[in-house]
Protein backbone atom coordinates (compact mmCIF):
# COMPACT_ATOMS: atom_id res chain seq x y z
CA UNK A 1 0.00 0.00 0.00
CA UNK A 2 2.53 2.50 1.07
CA UNK A 3 4.88 1.38 -1.64
CA UNK A 4 2.77 3.23 -4.14
CA UNK A 5 3.28 6.49 -2.38
CA UNK A 6 6.12 8.87 -2.77
CA UNK A 7 5.06 10.62 0.38
CA UNK A 8 2.44 9.66 2.83
CA UNK A 9 1.28 11.52 5.91
CA UNK A 10 -0.96 9.73 8.33
CA UNK A 11 -2.66 11.63 11.11
CA UNK A 12 0.26 13.92 11.63
CA UNK A 13 0.11 16.34 14.54
CA UNK A 14 2.55 18.74 16.07
CA UNK A 15 2.32 20.56 19.38
CA UNK A 16 4.27 23.47 20.73
CA UNK A 17 4.47 24.43 24.35
CA UNK A 18 3.23 27.92 24.89
CA UNK A 19 3.06 30.40 27.67
CA UNK A 20 5.54 30.72 30.48
CA UNK A 21 8.36 28.49 31.33
CA UNK A 22 6.51 26.56 33.95
CA UNK A 23 3.24 26.23 32.13
CA UNK A 24 2.14 23.00 30.64
CA UNK A 25 -0.09 24.53 28.02
CA UNK A 26 0.57 23.69 24.41
CA UNK A 27 -0.89 24.66 21.13
CA UNK A 28 -1.62 22.43 18.24
CA UNK A 29 0.24 23.76 15.25
CA UNK A 30 -0.65 20.87 12.99
CA UNK A 31 -3.69 18.85 13.79
CA UNK A 32 -4.20 15.38 12.41
CA UNK A 33 -3.19 15.96 8.84
CA UNK A 34 -3.16 13.12 6.33
CA UNK A 35 -2.45 13.10 2.65
CA UNK A 36 -0.34 11.21 0.18
CA UNK A 37 1.50 11.84 -3.03
CA UNK A 38 1.56 9.03 -5.51
CA UNK A 39 4.87 7.73 -6.64
CA UNK A 40 4.05 7.20 -10.25
CA UNK A 41 2.08 10.36 -10.87
CA UNK A 42 4.08 13.47 -10.10
CA UNK A 43 1.98 16.40 -9.09
CA UNK A 44 2.08 19.89 -7.76
CA UNK A 45 0.47 19.73 -4.37
CA UNK A 46 -0.44 23.07 -2.99
CA UNK A 47 -0.97 24.03 0.61
CA UNK A 48 -2.72 27.28 1.20
CA UNK A 49 -4.24 28.67 4.30
CA UNK A 50 -4.27 31.16 7.04
CA UNK A 51 -1.00 32.49 8.13
CA UNK A 52 0.04 30.66 11.22
CA UNK A 53 -2.00 27.67 10.26
CA UNK A 54 0.92 25.30 10.39
CA UNK A 55 1.97 25.16 6.78
CA UNK A 56 5.64 25.75 7.46
CA UNK A 57 5.52 23.39 10.38
CA UNK A 58 4.10 20.74 8.16
CA UNK A 59 6.82 21.39 5.63
CA UNK A 60 9.46 21.09 8.29
CA UNK A 61 8.05 17.77 9.37
CA UNK A 62 8.08 16.46 5.86
CA UNK A 63 11.68 17.50 5.60
CA UNK A 64 12.44 15.69 8.80
CA UNK A 65 13.72 18.74 10.59
CA UNK A 66 10.90 18.69 13.08
CA UNK A 67 9.64 15.45 14.48
CA UNK A 68 5.94 14.80 14.32
CA UNK A 69 4.43 14.45 17.75
CA UNK A 70 1.80 12.14 16.48
CA UNK A 71 1.25 10.19 13.28
CA UNK A 72 3.72 9.02 10.71
CA UNK A 73 5.30 10.46 7.65
CA UNK A 74 6.61 8.02 5.11
CA UNK A 75 8.77 8.80 2.19
CA UNK A 76 9.14 6.08 -0.36
CA UNK A 77 7.68 3.72 2.15
CA UNK A 78 10.17 4.47 4.90
CA UNK A 79 9.26 6.37 8.02
CA UNK A 80 11.35 9.51 7.88
CA UNK A 81 11.59 9.47 11.63
CA UNK A 82 13.77 6.39 11.23
CA UNK A 83 16.29 7.99 8.96
CA UNK A 84 19.34 8.16 11.08
CA UNK A 85 22.32 6.81 9.26
CA UNK A 86 24.32 9.24 7.29
CA UNK A 87 23.86 7.51 3.96
CA UNK A 88 20.14 7.19 4.44
CA UNK A 89 19.94 10.84 5.25
CA UNK A 90 21.98 11.67 2.20
CA UNK A 91 19.82 9.55 -0.01
CA UNK A 92 16.76 11.23 1.43
CA UNK A 93 18.19 14.64 0.70
CA UNK A 94 18.98 13.82 -2.90
CA UNK A 95 15.37 12.99 -3.35
CA UNK A 96 13.72 15.65 -1.27
CA UNK A 97 14.77 19.25 -1.44
CA UNK A 98 13.39 22.30 0.31
CA UNK A 99 12.93 25.93 -0.54
CA UNK A 100 12.60 27.84 2.69
CA UNK A 101 10.07 30.52 3.40
CA UNK A 102 12.22 33.40 4.46
CA UNK A 103 15.01 33.96 1.97
CA UNK A 104 16.78 36.37 4.31
CA UNK A 105 17.00 33.65 6.93
CA UNK A 106 17.76 30.79 4.62
CA UNK A 107 21.21 31.97 3.75
CA UNK A 108 23.90 32.42 6.31
CA UNK A 109 24.89 36.07 6.16
CA UNK A 110 28.49 35.09 6.68
CA UNK A 111 28.65 32.52 3.93
CA UNK A 112 28.90 33.26 0.27
CA UNK A 113 25.74 32.34 -1.56
CA UNK A 114 27.48 30.29 -4.21
CA UNK A 115 28.84 27.95 -1.55
CA UNK A 116 25.39 26.49 -1.18
CA UNK A 117 25.14 25.84 -4.88
CA UNK A 118 28.56 24.29 -5.12
CA UNK A 119 28.02 22.13 -2.09
CA UNK A 120 24.82 20.80 -3.55
CA UNK A 121 26.43 20.17 -6.91
CA UNK A 122 29.31 18.47 -5.26
CA UNK A 123 27.49 16.32 -2.80
CA UNK A 124 24.42 15.32 -4.70
CA UNK A 125 25.63 15.47 -8.23
CA UNK A 126 29.16 14.33 -7.64
CA UNK A 127 30.60 17.36 -9.38
CA UNK A 128 34.29 17.17 -8.65
CA UNK A 129 35.96 20.11 -10.25
CA UNK A 130 35.16 23.68 -9.61
CA UNK A 131 34.22 24.16 -13.23
CA UNK A 132 31.74 21.31 -13.12
CA UNK A 133 30.10 22.75 -10.06
CA UNK A 134 29.88 26.17 -11.57
CA UNK A 135 28.40 24.74 -14.69
CA UNK A 136 25.72 22.87 -12.77
CA UNK A 137 24.98 25.92 -10.66
CA UNK A 138 24.80 28.14 -13.67
CA UNK A 139 22.39 25.87 -15.48
CA UNK A 140 20.12 25.88 -12.47
CA UNK A 141 20.40 29.63 -12.03
CA UNK A 142 19.63 30.27 -15.65
CA UNK A 143 16.33 28.55 -15.20
CA UNK A 144 15.28 31.13 -12.63
CA UNK A 145 16.61 34.07 -14.56
CA UNK A 146 19.99 34.43 -12.92
CA UNK A 147 23.52 33.47 -13.75
CA UNK A 148 26.45 32.33 -11.75
CA UNK A 149 28.24 35.54 -12.64
CA UNK A 150 25.69 37.57 -10.69
CA UNK A 151 25.87 35.34 -7.69
CA UNK A 152 29.50 34.45 -7.46
CA UNK A 153 31.20 35.72 -4.34
CA UNK A 154 28.22 37.58 -2.99
CA UNK A 155 26.60 37.49 0.40
CA UNK A 156 22.91 37.33 1.14
CA UNK A 157 22.62 40.95 2.21
CA UNK A 158 23.93 42.00 -1.16
CA UNK A 159 21.06 40.47 -3.00
CA UNK A 160 17.43 41.36 -3.21
CA UNK A 161 14.73 39.23 -1.67
CA UNK A 162 13.60 37.98 -5.05
CA UNK A 163 17.10 37.12 -6.10
CA UNK A 164 17.55 35.08 -2.95
CA UNK A 165 14.33 33.24 -3.46
CA UNK A 166 15.26 32.41 -6.99
CA UNK A 167 18.68 31.20 -5.92
CA UNK A 168 17.03 29.02 -3.32
CA UNK A 169 14.80 27.51 -5.97
CA UNK A 170 17.72 27.03 -8.32
CA UNK A 171 19.67 25.28 -5.63
CA UNK A 172 16.88 22.88 -4.92
CA UNK A 173 16.84 21.96 -8.59
CA UNK A 174 20.44 20.90 -8.78
CA UNK A 175 20.10 17.40 -7.25
CA UNK A 176 17.10 16.72 -9.51
CA UNK A 177 15.04 15.57 -6.54
CA UNK A 178 11.84 13.60 -6.64
CA UNK A 179 10.13 16.01 -4.30
CA UNK A 180 10.56 19.70 -3.75
CA UNK A 181 9.03 21.25 -0.67
CA UNK A 182 8.72 24.88 -1.52
CA UNK A 183 7.56 27.15 1.28
CA UNK A 184 6.38 30.37 -0.33
CA UNK A 185 9.15 30.26 -2.87
CA UNK A 186 8.04 33.21 -4.93
CA UNK A 187 6.51 35.56 -2.38
CA UNK A 188 9.09 38.21 -3.12
CA UNK A 189 9.30 37.84 -6.82
CA UNK A 190 7.58 40.03 -9.38
CA UNK A 191 4.64 38.70 -11.29
CA UNK A 192 6.55 38.04 -14.46
CA UNK A 193 9.35 36.14 -12.85
CA UNK A 194 6.88 34.42 -10.63
CA UNK A 195 5.21 33.08 -13.67
CA UNK A 196 8.48 31.86 -15.04
CA UNK A 197 9.27 30.01 -11.82
CA UNK A 198 5.83 28.60 -11.59
CA UNK A 199 6.12 27.53 -15.18
CA UNK A 200 9.38 25.98 -14.27
CA UNK A 201 7.65 23.92 -11.59
CA UNK A 202 5.18 22.75 -14.07
CA UNK A 203 7.91 21.84 -16.47
CA UNK A 204 9.76 19.95 -13.75
CA UNK A 205 6.68 18.01 -13.00
CA UNK A 206 6.04 17.17 -16.58
CA UNK A 207 9.50 16.46 -17.86
CA UNK A 208 11.47 15.39 -14.83
CA UNK A 209 8.59 13.83 -12.92
CA UNK A 210 9.26 15.87 -9.84
CA UNK A 211 6.55 16.26 -7.29
CA UNK A 212 6.27 19.63 -5.68
CA UNK A 213 4.68 20.66 -2.45
CA UNK A 214 3.96 24.27 -3.03
CA UNK A 215 3.04 26.37 -0.05
CA UNK A 216 1.68 29.73 -0.96
CA UNK A 217 -0.73 32.51 -0.23
CA UNK A 218 -1.09 33.26 -3.88
CA UNK A 219 -4.26 31.45 -4.81
CA UNK A 220 -4.00 32.63 -8.36
CA UNK A 221 -0.76 30.84 -9.03
CA UNK A 222 -2.03 27.90 -7.08
CA UNK A 223 -4.97 27.75 -9.35
CA UNK A 224 -2.66 28.19 -12.26
CA UNK A 225 -0.40 25.24 -11.67
CA UNK A 226 -1.65 23.09 -8.83
CA UNK A 227 -2.97 19.62 -9.30
CA UNK A 228 -4.27 19.26 -5.82
CA UNK A 229 -4.71 21.68 -2.96
CA UNK A 230 -5.33 21.51 0.74
CA UNK A 231 -6.56 24.47 2.67
CA UNK A 232 -5.46 24.77 6.26
CA UNK A 233 -6.67 26.75 9.15
CA UNK A 234 -5.46 26.58 12.72
CA UNK A 235 -3.54 23.42 11.98
CA UNK A 236 -6.48 21.62 10.51
CA UNK A 237 -7.04 20.76 6.88
CA UNK A 238 -10.41 22.25 6.20
CA UNK A 239 -10.68 21.26 2.61
CA UNK A 240 -8.73 19.29 0.10
CA UNK A 241 -9.07 18.01 -3.39
CA UNK A 242 -8.42 18.77 -6.96
CA UNK A 243 -7.10 22.32 -7.10
CA UNK A 244 -9.35 23.69 -9.75
CA UNK A 245 -12.42 22.03 -8.28
CA UNK A 246 -11.74 23.26 -4.81
CA UNK A 247 -10.85 26.76 -5.83
CA UNK A 248 -13.63 27.09 -8.33
CA UNK A 249 -16.17 25.86 -5.92
CA UNK A 250 -15.00 25.84 -2.33
CA UNK A 251 -17.13 23.94 0.10
CA UNK A 252 -15.83 24.92 3.48
CA UNK A 253 -16.77 28.35 4.63
CA UNK A 254 -13.18 29.29 5.29
CA UNK A 255 -12.14 28.20 1.82
CA UNK A 256 -14.93 30.19 0.48
CA UNK A 257 -13.94 33.28 2.40
CA UNK A 258 -10.40 32.80 1.33
CA UNK A 259 -11.23 32.55 -2.27
CA UNK A 260 -13.43 35.57 -2.12
CA UNK A 261 -10.74 37.53 -0.45
CA UNK A 262 -8.46 37.20 -3.43
CA UNK A 263 -8.03 40.60 -4.90
CA UNK A 264 -8.51 40.82 -8.60
CA UNK A 265 -5.77 42.54 -10.55
CA UNK A 266 -8.09 45.31 -11.44
CA UNK A 267 -8.15 48.63 -9.63
CA UNK A 268 -11.85 49.19 -9.80
CA UNK A 269 -12.87 45.82 -8.48
CA UNK A 270 -10.06 45.57 -6.04
CA UNK A 271 -10.51 48.94 -4.44
CA UNK A 272 -14.19 48.28 -4.07
CA UNK A 273 -13.41 45.17 -2.14
CA UNK A 274 -11.13 47.06 0.18
CA UNK A 275 -13.66 49.80 0.66
CA UNK A 276 -16.23 47.18 1.47
CA UNK A 277 -13.90 45.59 3.88
CA UNK A 278 -13.31 48.84 5.70
CA UNK A 279 -16.96 49.24 6.27
CA UNK A 280 -17.32 45.65 7.47
CA UNK A 281 -14.67 46.10 10.04
CA UNK A 282 -16.60 49.07 11.25
CA UNK A 283 -15.96 52.63 12.06
CA UNK A 284 -12.42 53.48 12.85
CA UNK A 285 -11.45 54.13 16.39
CA UNK A 286 -13.10 57.47 16.75
CA UNK A 287 -10.55 59.25 18.76
CA UNK A 288 -8.22 62.00 17.84
CA UNK A 289 -4.60 61.17 18.25
CA UNK A 290 -3.06 63.43 20.78
CA UNK A 291 0.47 63.85 19.68
CA UNK A 292 3.13 64.07 22.23
Amino acid sequence: MSGEHLLQLENVSKFFPIGGFFSRARMTAVDDVSFALAADRPEIFTIVGESGSGKSTLAKMILGSEAADRGTIRFDGADIGDISSRSAREAFMTRVQPVFQNPFEAFNPLTRIDEYLYATAHRFKGAKSRAEREALADTALQRVGLSIAEVRGRYSHELSGGQLQRIAVARALIPEPKLIVADEPVSMVDASLRMSIVNLFRELRDTLKVSIIYITHDLATAYYIADRVIIMRKGVVVESGDARTVLDNPQHEYSFALKNAVLPPDPREASTIIRQRRQDVGAPVAREIVRA
Binding site: M93, E115, Y116, Y155
Partner: protein
Protein backbone atom coordinates in the same frame (compact mmCIF):
# COMPACT_ATOMS: atom_id res chain seq x y z
CA UNK B 1 45.94 38.10 -0.43
CA UNK B 2 48.38 40.92 -0.89
CA UNK B 3 45.59 43.15 -2.04
CA UNK B 4 43.57 42.29 1.00
CA UNK B 5 46.44 43.27 3.19
CA UNK B 6 46.96 46.47 1.31
CA UNK B 7 43.33 47.39 1.59
CA UNK B 8 43.26 46.54 5.25
CA UNK B 9 46.25 48.72 5.82
CA UNK B 10 44.79 51.53 3.78
CA UNK B 11 41.27 51.62 5.08
CA UNK B 12 41.70 50.35 8.51
CA UNK B 13 43.64 52.53 10.85
CA UNK B 14 43.40 49.98 13.60
CA UNK B 15 44.89 47.34 11.42
CA UNK B 16 47.72 49.67 10.54
CA UNK B 17 48.48 50.53 14.17
CA UNK B 18 48.06 46.94 15.20
CA UNK B 19 50.46 45.84 12.50
CA UNK B 20 53.01 48.41 13.55
CA UNK B 21 52.80 47.37 17.19
CA UNK B 22 53.05 43.71 16.34
CA UNK B 23 55.95 44.43 14.03
CA UNK B 24 57.74 46.06 16.93
CA UNK B 25 57.27 42.91 18.95
CA UNK B 26 58.21 40.65 16.06
CA UNK B 27 61.27 42.77 15.43
CA UNK B 28 62.28 42.47 19.02
CA UNK B 29 61.77 38.74 18.99
CA UNK B 30 63.67 38.29 15.77
CA UNK B 31 66.47 40.46 17.02
CA UNK B 32 66.76 38.25 20.07
CA UNK B 33 68.24 35.60 17.82
CA UNK B 34 71.09 37.96 17.11
CA UNK B 35 71.69 38.88 20.71
CA UNK B 36 75.33 39.52 21.47
CA UNK B 37 74.90 37.71 24.78
CA UNK B 38 73.79 34.24 25.67
CA UNK B 39 70.26 34.82 26.87
CA UNK B 40 70.74 32.74 30.00
CA UNK B 41 74.14 34.18 30.89
CA UNK B 42 74.33 36.51 33.85
CA UNK B 43 76.81 39.23 34.77
CA UNK B 44 77.68 39.94 31.19
CA UNK B 45 77.17 43.70 31.48
CA UNK B 46 77.49 46.17 34.34
CA UNK B 47 74.52 45.60 36.63
CA UNK B 48 71.90 48.21 37.53
CA UNK B 49 72.64 50.65 34.74
CA UNK B 50 69.70 52.94 34.02
CA UNK B 51 68.50 53.27 30.44
CA UNK B 52 71.12 55.03 28.35
CA UNK B 53 72.42 55.21 24.83
CA UNK B 54 74.46 52.12 25.44
CA UNK B 55 71.80 50.15 27.26
CA UNK B 56 68.52 51.32 25.84
CA UNK B 57 66.38 49.77 28.51
CA UNK B 58 69.08 49.65 31.18
CA UNK B 59 70.59 46.58 32.74
CA UNK B 60 69.37 44.28 35.47
CA UNK B 61 70.89 43.60 38.85
CA UNK B 62 71.96 40.28 37.36
CA UNK B 63 74.12 42.03 34.82
CA UNK B 64 71.86 41.40 31.85
CA UNK B 65 70.88 43.87 29.19
CA UNK B 66 67.14 44.41 29.58
CA UNK B 67 66.73 44.98 25.85
CA UNK B 68 68.06 41.60 24.87
CA UNK B 69 66.34 39.94 27.79
CA UNK B 70 62.99 41.30 26.71
CA UNK B 71 63.46 39.93 23.23
CA UNK B 72 64.21 36.45 24.49
CA UNK B 73 61.57 36.59 27.22
CA UNK B 74 58.86 37.73 24.89
CA UNK B 75 59.77 34.98 22.53
CA UNK B 76 59.58 32.28 25.16
CA UNK B 77 56.54 33.63 26.90
CA UNK B 78 54.71 34.18 23.68
CA UNK B 79 55.57 30.71 22.53
CA UNK B 80 54.12 29.36 25.72
CA UNK B 81 51.09 31.55 25.45
CA UNK B 82 50.50 30.71 21.84
CA UNK B 83 50.74 27.00 22.42
CA UNK B 84 48.27 27.27 25.26
CA UNK B 85 45.98 29.51 23.28
CA UNK B 86 46.08 27.51 20.08
CA UNK B 87 45.66 24.12 21.70
CA UNK B 88 42.92 25.26 24.01
CA UNK B 89 41.22 27.16 21.19
CA UNK B 90 41.18 24.07 19.03
CA UNK B 91 39.68 22.03 21.80
CA UNK B 92 37.19 24.73 22.70
CA UNK B 93 36.13 25.12 19.10
CA UNK B 94 35.75 21.47 18.34
CA UNK B 95 34.00 20.73 21.59
CA UNK B 96 31.80 23.81 21.48
CA UNK B 97 30.74 23.50 17.88
CA UNK B 98 30.25 19.77 17.87
CA UNK B 99 28.49 19.70 21.18
CA UNK B 100 26.21 22.55 20.23
CA UNK B 101 25.48 21.22 16.78
CA UNK B 102 24.91 17.61 17.62
CA UNK B 103 23.15 18.30 20.87
CA UNK B 104 21.25 15.67 22.77
CA UNK B 105 23.09 13.03 24.71
CA UNK B 106 26.46 13.73 23.12
CA UNK B 107 26.11 17.31 24.21
CA UNK B 108 25.31 16.27 27.75
CA UNK B 109 28.30 13.99 28.02
CA UNK B 110 30.69 16.47 26.51
CA UNK B 111 29.40 19.25 28.71
CA UNK B 112 29.73 17.03 31.74
CA UNK B 113 33.42 16.58 31.03
CA UNK B 114 33.70 20.21 30.13
CA UNK B 115 32.17 21.39 33.36
CA UNK B 116 34.23 18.99 35.40
CA UNK B 117 37.44 20.39 34.02
CA UNK B 118 36.06 23.87 34.36
CA UNK B 119 35.25 23.36 37.99
CA UNK B 120 38.75 22.32 38.93
CA UNK B 121 40.50 25.34 40.41
CA UNK B 122 43.41 26.07 38.10
CA UNK B 123 46.24 27.26 40.25
CA UNK B 124 46.16 24.54 42.89
CA UNK B 125 45.75 21.83 40.30
CA UNK B 126 48.65 23.20 38.33
CA UNK B 127 50.84 23.51 41.39
CA UNK B 128 50.01 19.99 42.46
CA UNK B 129 50.76 18.73 38.98
CA UNK B 130 54.03 20.60 39.00
CA UNK B 131 54.86 18.77 42.20
CA UNK B 132 53.70 15.42 40.97
CA UNK B 133 55.31 15.53 37.56
CA UNK B 134 58.35 17.57 38.54
CA UNK B 135 61.04 16.82 36.00
CA UNK B 136 58.56 15.88 33.33
CA UNK B 137 56.96 19.25 33.85
CA UNK B 138 58.88 21.07 31.18
CA UNK B 139 57.50 24.33 29.92
CA UNK B 140 55.95 22.62 26.93
CA UNK B 141 54.27 20.08 29.16
CA UNK B 142 53.07 22.91 31.31
CA UNK B 143 51.68 24.56 28.23
CA UNK B 144 49.72 21.45 27.39
CA UNK B 145 48.37 21.12 30.90
CA UNK B 146 47.41 24.78 30.95
CA UNK B 147 45.77 24.35 27.59
CA UNK B 148 43.75 21.45 28.94
CA UNK B 149 42.55 23.60 31.80
CA UNK B 150 41.94 26.71 29.76
CA UNK B 151 39.26 25.91 27.27
CA UNK B 152 36.19 24.97 29.24
CA UNK B 153 34.64 28.34 29.69
CA UNK B 154 35.10 29.27 26.08
CA UNK B 155 33.77 26.04 24.72
CA UNK B 156 30.62 26.64 26.70
CA UNK B 157 30.32 30.05 25.16
CA UNK B 158 30.88 28.68 21.70
CA UNK B 159 28.42 25.93 22.35
CA UNK B 160 25.71 28.35 23.35
CA UNK B 161 26.14 30.18 20.07
CA UNK B 162 26.23 26.91 18.17
CA UNK B 163 23.05 25.80 19.89
CA UNK B 164 21.20 28.83 18.62
CA UNK B 165 22.74 28.49 15.17
CA UNK B 166 21.49 24.97 14.99
CA UNK B 167 17.93 26.26 15.15
CA UNK B 168 18.46 28.77 12.41
CA UNK B 169 16.95 28.16 9.03
CA UNK B 170 20.22 28.55 7.21
CA UNK B 171 21.66 25.60 9.03
CA UNK B 172 18.88 23.44 7.77
CA UNK B 173 19.36 24.92 4.38
CA UNK B 174 23.02 24.03 4.54
CA UNK B 175 22.16 20.47 5.49
CA UNK B 176 19.88 20.17 2.52
CA UNK B 177 22.53 21.77 0.36
CA UNK B 178 24.57 18.74 1.06
CA UNK B 179 27.18 20.34 3.24
CA UNK B 180 28.79 17.81 5.47
CA UNK B 181 28.69 18.27 9.20
CA UNK B 182 32.31 19.30 9.19
CA UNK B 183 31.62 21.78 6.44
CA UNK B 184 28.67 23.21 8.25
CA UNK B 185 30.69 23.57 11.38
CA UNK B 186 33.62 25.14 9.62
CA UNK B 187 31.95 27.23 6.97
CA UNK B 188 28.62 28.10 8.47
CA UNK B 189 29.11 28.20 12.20
CA UNK B 190 32.75 28.96 12.61
CA UNK B 191 32.50 32.47 11.16
CA UNK B 192 29.77 33.20 13.68
CA UNK B 193 31.91 32.24 16.61
CA UNK B 194 35.03 33.83 15.17
CA UNK B 195 34.56 37.00 17.18
CA UNK B 196 34.28 34.84 20.25
CA UNK B 197 37.34 32.93 19.20
CA UNK B 198 39.24 36.15 18.76
CA UNK B 199 38.47 37.67 22.06
CA UNK B 200 38.76 34.43 23.93
CA UNK B 201 42.11 33.88 22.28
CA UNK B 202 43.24 37.22 23.54
CA UNK B 203 41.84 36.52 26.97
CA UNK B 204 43.36 33.09 26.91
CA UNK B 205 46.72 34.41 25.86
CA UNK B 206 46.57 36.92 28.65
CA UNK B 207 45.51 34.20 31.03
CA UNK B 208 48.37 31.97 29.91
CA UNK B 209 50.92 34.69 30.32
CA UNK B 210 49.39 35.58 33.66
CA UNK B 211 49.67 31.95 34.63
CA UNK B 212 53.28 31.90 33.65
CA UNK B 213 53.88 34.99 35.74
CA UNK B 214 51.90 33.64 38.66
CA UNK B 215 53.81 30.38 38.65
CA UNK B 216 57.05 32.31 38.42
CA UNK B 217 56.10 34.52 41.33
CA UNK B 218 55.23 31.48 43.35
CA UNK B 219 58.60 30.13 42.29
CA UNK B 220 57.55 27.34 39.99
CA UNK B 221 58.97 28.20 36.69
CA UNK B 222 62.16 27.14 35.08
CA UNK B 223 64.34 30.00 36.22
CA UNK B 224 66.97 29.18 33.64
CA UNK B 225 64.73 30.21 30.79
CA UNK B 226 64.16 33.88 30.23
CA UNK B 227 60.44 34.64 30.25
CA UNK B 228 58.35 37.59 31.25
CA UNK B 229 57.42 35.83 34.46
CA UNK B 230 61.05 34.94 34.94
CA UNK B 231 62.04 38.57 34.60
CA UNK B 232 59.53 39.53 37.25
CA UNK B 233 60.71 36.69 39.44
CA UNK B 234 64.28 37.82 39.30
CA UNK B 235 63.40 41.48 39.64
CA UNK B 236 61.50 40.41 42.70
CA UNK B 237 64.37 38.40 44.06
CA UNK B 238 66.43 41.56 43.78
CA UNK B 239 63.73 43.84 45.17
CA UNK B 240 63.99 45.85 41.99
CA UNK B 241 60.90 47.90 42.68
CA UNK B 242 62.15 49.24 46.00
CA UNK B 243 65.76 49.37 44.92
CA UNK B 244 64.75 51.74 42.15
CA UNK B 245 65.61 49.47 39.24
CA UNK B 246 62.22 50.21 37.74
CA UNK B 247 63.33 49.59 34.18
CA UNK B 248 63.71 45.93 34.93
CA UNK B 249 59.96 45.64 35.37
CA UNK B 250 58.63 48.60 33.43
CA UNK B 251 60.05 47.73 30.03
CA UNK B 252 58.90 44.14 29.94
CA UNK B 253 55.46 45.36 30.96
CA UNK B 254 55.54 48.03 28.29
CA UNK B 255 56.15 45.44 25.64
CA UNK B 256 53.53 43.12 26.97
CA UNK B 257 51.13 46.01 26.73
CA UNK B 258 52.30 46.84 23.22
CA UNK B 259 51.87 43.24 22.24
CA UNK B 260 48.32 43.10 23.47
CA UNK B 261 47.30 46.45 22.15
CA UNK B 262 48.61 45.30 18.81
CA UNK B 263 46.75 42.02 19.04
CA UNK B 264 43.64 43.82 20.19
CA UNK B 265 43.65 46.13 17.22
CA UNK B 266 44.42 43.37 14.79
CA UNK B 267 41.71 41.20 16.26
CA UNK B 268 39.23 44.02 15.96
CA UNK B 269 39.98 44.70 12.35
CA UNK B 270 40.31 41.10 11.27
CA UNK B 271 37.06 40.44 13.02
CA UNK B 272 35.43 43.05 10.91
CA UNK B 273 36.99 41.57 7.86
CA UNK B 274 35.52 38.23 8.61
CA UNK B 275 32.05 39.64 9.09
CA UNK B 276 31.07 40.85 5.64
CA UNK B 277 28.36 43.02 7.09
CA UNK B 278 30.61 45.19 9.12
CA UNK B 279 33.38 44.87 6.58
CA UNK B 280 31.25 46.79 4.19
CA UNK B 281 30.05 49.15 6.85
CA UNK B 282 33.60 50.16 7.54
CA UNK B 283 34.42 51.07 4.08
CA UNK B 284 31.77 53.67 3.78
CA UNK B 285 32.51 55.10 7.16
Amino acid sequence: MFKILRDLLRYNKEFLFGTILILIIVGLIVSSFFSPYDETAIYVVIPDMPPSAEFWFGTTSRGQDVFWQIGASLRNTLLFGIIVAVVSRLIALVVGLVSGYIGGRTDQIIMGINDTLGALPNIPILLLLVFVLRDQMTWSMLAVVAALLGWTHDSRLIRSVALSLRQREFTRHAVFSGMRTSQILVREHLPYVMPIVFFTTMNNLIWAIGLEVTLSILGFSDINRPTIGGMIYWANAHSAMVAGIWWWVAFPMLFVVILFLGLFMLAMSVNEYIDPRSRLARMGA
